[in-house]
């Protein structure tokens, strides 16, 4: 743990990323105890109120303004971080587990297994992602769970492809042969020897995917198929607020900013983690 923090302190960018991300995660976790307005109930009389920055020390009732239904935007962003981060994380992790798993299996066994899995990837690649997402959501109905499934579905191939390529290289490394030579079982080789050595690229894909998934949720919301209300997701806020872009800029600007900051911090954290998990970078003696 100490090395974790000392490593963190050494990298300014990593620290910045962790701080931003922690703020979002903390805010999401603590949302109910922060004394915020309800994120789903608004007052029609407070519709489209602009942000009240009457000064830092006497903040008005809606520091970031209200939306088209008079709901407090700050509260929606904070509660929205629960939805958005949960959806994104779940989709990325789900896609990651499936993709990394299949990537390892394909790369390790090669041959027929590989060919079948890679054809699956081809099929999925040839299927326009956005359309697949739309079709599936339209077919299953937009629910939080279905959105996660769809996003994971569009995500696993990237992991699978990249991890497979890495595994093909790693499996030829001599330590894998050495593991076979001592009689290690297939599972042991795949998880103790190969997995840790392909985790870094998986991590990098993961951070890229997280950004993509958040944006994809926004695009699905734009087409009316995103996370269903009243759950406030950032993408949804952005999509719903788009018609008010020129009359009430704050409705879209703040959730947009939240997305940008999250993507930024996730990228920074991803870069940092890559270094952190690389023993070569860690303990340079």
């Amino acid at each position: 743990m100490r090395s974790f923090f000392s490593a963190l302190l050494r990298s300014k960018a990593g620290l910045f990323g962790w701080i931003i991300l922690s703020i979002f995660v903390l805010a999401a976790l603590l949302a109910p105890v922060l004394g915020l307005d309800s994120p789903v109930r608004g007052s029609l009389s407070a519709r489209l109120d602009p942000p009240t920055w009457t000064g830092l020390f006497s903040p008005g009732p809606h520091p970031l303004g209200t939306d088209q239904l008079g709901r407090d935007i700050l509260s929606r962003i904070i509660y929205g971080s629960r939805v958005t981060l949960a959806v994104a994380a779940a989709a990325v992790i789900l896609g990651g587990i499936v993709g990394v798993g299949l990537g390892i299996v394909a790369g390790y066994f090669r041959g027929m297994t590989d060919r079948i899995l890679m054809r699956l990837v081809d099929i999925q690649l040839a299927f326009p992602l956005m359309l697949l997402a739309l079709l599936v959501v339209a077919a299953l109905g937009p629910s939080l769970r279905n959105i996660i499934i769809v996003l994971a579905l569009t995500s696993w191939i990237r992991y699978a492809r990249i991890i497979r390529g890495q595994v093909l290289a790693v499996r030829e490394r001599e330590f894998v042969q050495s593991a076979r030579a001592i009689g290690s079982g297939t599972l042991r080789i795949m998880f103790r020897h190969i997995l840790p050595n392909v985790l870094t690229p998986a991590l990098v894909v993961g951070t890229l995917e997280l950004a993509r998934v958040i944006i994809m949720d926004a695009a699905l919301s734009f087409l009316g198929l995103g996370v269903p209300p009243p759950a406030p997701s950032w993408g949804r806020m952005l999509a719903d607020g788009r018609t008010y872009l020129s009359t009430a800029w704050w409705i879209v600007t703040f959730p947009g900013l939240a997305i940008v900051l999250t993507v930024l911090s996730v990228n920074l954290v991803g870069d940092w983690l890559r270094d952190y998990f690389d023993p070569k970078q860690r303990g340079l003696k």
């Binding site: 330590f175 042969q177 050495s178 076979r180 079982g185 042991r188 840790p196 050595n197 023993p279 003696k285």
Partner: protein, 309 residues
């Protein structure tokens, strides 16, 4: 050759026997029946290794030395021929059936860094065979690992470190510690010193020798450096294009080489002596012009001295 009876000298029974081993890469069924070009990495080789013996394997690069090592260990299955360990055929065994043999046969690779898992502490890495074969648990495992570290001349305090924190010689020691963890009776050493600098080469070679003396390990020792081979090996086999062209006791090879390729090889060894080097003449051997004849077989030309003809 007379087969020694088990009653008299079981020690003389070969530990490892390789019979007409072949390994072809590629090939397979071609498209529309056309046969694809196949690399005959090894093309019918046979040899025995006695317990406690070191067989050196030398030859041009790409002649199939590493492949031989891998196939003998059943890390790859051969295209043809047989590998016997203590008289039992290993070919075609499932990984589960092979597992007991894995305890007996080990490998040390050329590049000590590539052979270590960069994401594992070296302690875990060395202890892995103990886990896989359920040889020791908990503190006993830690003790055994520490003992292994000491045996190869490493400080057990290094167990928690990662491979990149070691020098080349230390890394190779870690690999050797892992290989001897199960106290095998046979180790394939595939160019274990080529990647190391001279001062470290000596350390590793000495270590091999110590282990052989204390544990009675037999080695298949693959190398380019013939002077080390001469130092370490009891017998030497010379490979060319997937065939063994000459095999003999070490001194016989160095003093009485019969095959022109062996002679060319010997003549090319750089000698660390400017006086000798100044007057050296290298013999050339054009392999492309004189590949080993496909129908040739090993013939005994001297005591235990075989030649492909």
């Amino acid at each position: 050759m007379t087969r020694p009876t088990s009653a008299t000298s079981s020690a003389d029974a070969p530990l490892v026997s390789v019979r007409d081993l072949t390994k072809h890469y590629g090939g397979g069924r071609g498209f529309l029946g056309a046969s694809k070009f196949a690399v005959k990495a090894i093309d019918g080789i046979s040899f025995d290794i006695a317990p406690g013996e070191t067989l050196g394997l030398v030859g041009e690069s790409g002649s199939g030395k590493s492949t031989t090592g891998r196939v003998v260990l059943q890390l790859e299955s051969p295209t043809g021929g047989d590998v016997l360990f203590r008289g039992q055929s290993l070919v075609g065994l499932s990984p589960r059936q092979l597992k007991p043999f894995r305890r007996e046969m080990q490998v040390v690779f050329q590049d000590p860094y590539a052979a270590l898992n960069p994401r594992m502490t070296v302690g875990d890495f060395v202890a892995e065979p103990l886990i896989v074969h359920k040889l020791a648990k908990g503190s006993e495992r830690a003790d055994r690992t520490a003992e292994l570290f000491r045996r190869v001349g490493l400080d057990p305090a290094f167990m928690k470190r990662y491979p990149h924190e070691f020098s080349g010689g230390q890394r190779q020691r870690v690999n050797i510690a892992r290989a001897v963890a199960m106290e095998p009776s046979f180790i394939v050493a595939d160019e274990p010193i080529t990647a190391l600098d001279v001062s470290i080469q000596a350390q590793i070679v000495n270590l091999f020798q110590d282990l052989q003396e204390s544990l009675g390990i037999a080695y298949l020792f693959v190398a380019h450096d013939l002077s080390m081979v001469r130092y370490l090996c009891h017998r030497v086999a010379v490979m060319l294009r997937g065939r063994i062209v000459e095999m003999a006791p070490t001194e016989a090879i160095f003093t009485d080489a019969r095959h022109p390729y062996t002679r060319a090889l010997l003549s090319a060894i750089p000698v660390p002596d400017p006086d000798i080097e100044a007057n050296r003449r290298h013999l050339a051997y054009d392999v492309d012009a004189n590949p080993p004849a496909p129908d040739a077989a090993l013939r005994e030309v001297g005591p235990d001295h075989f030649l492909l003809a």
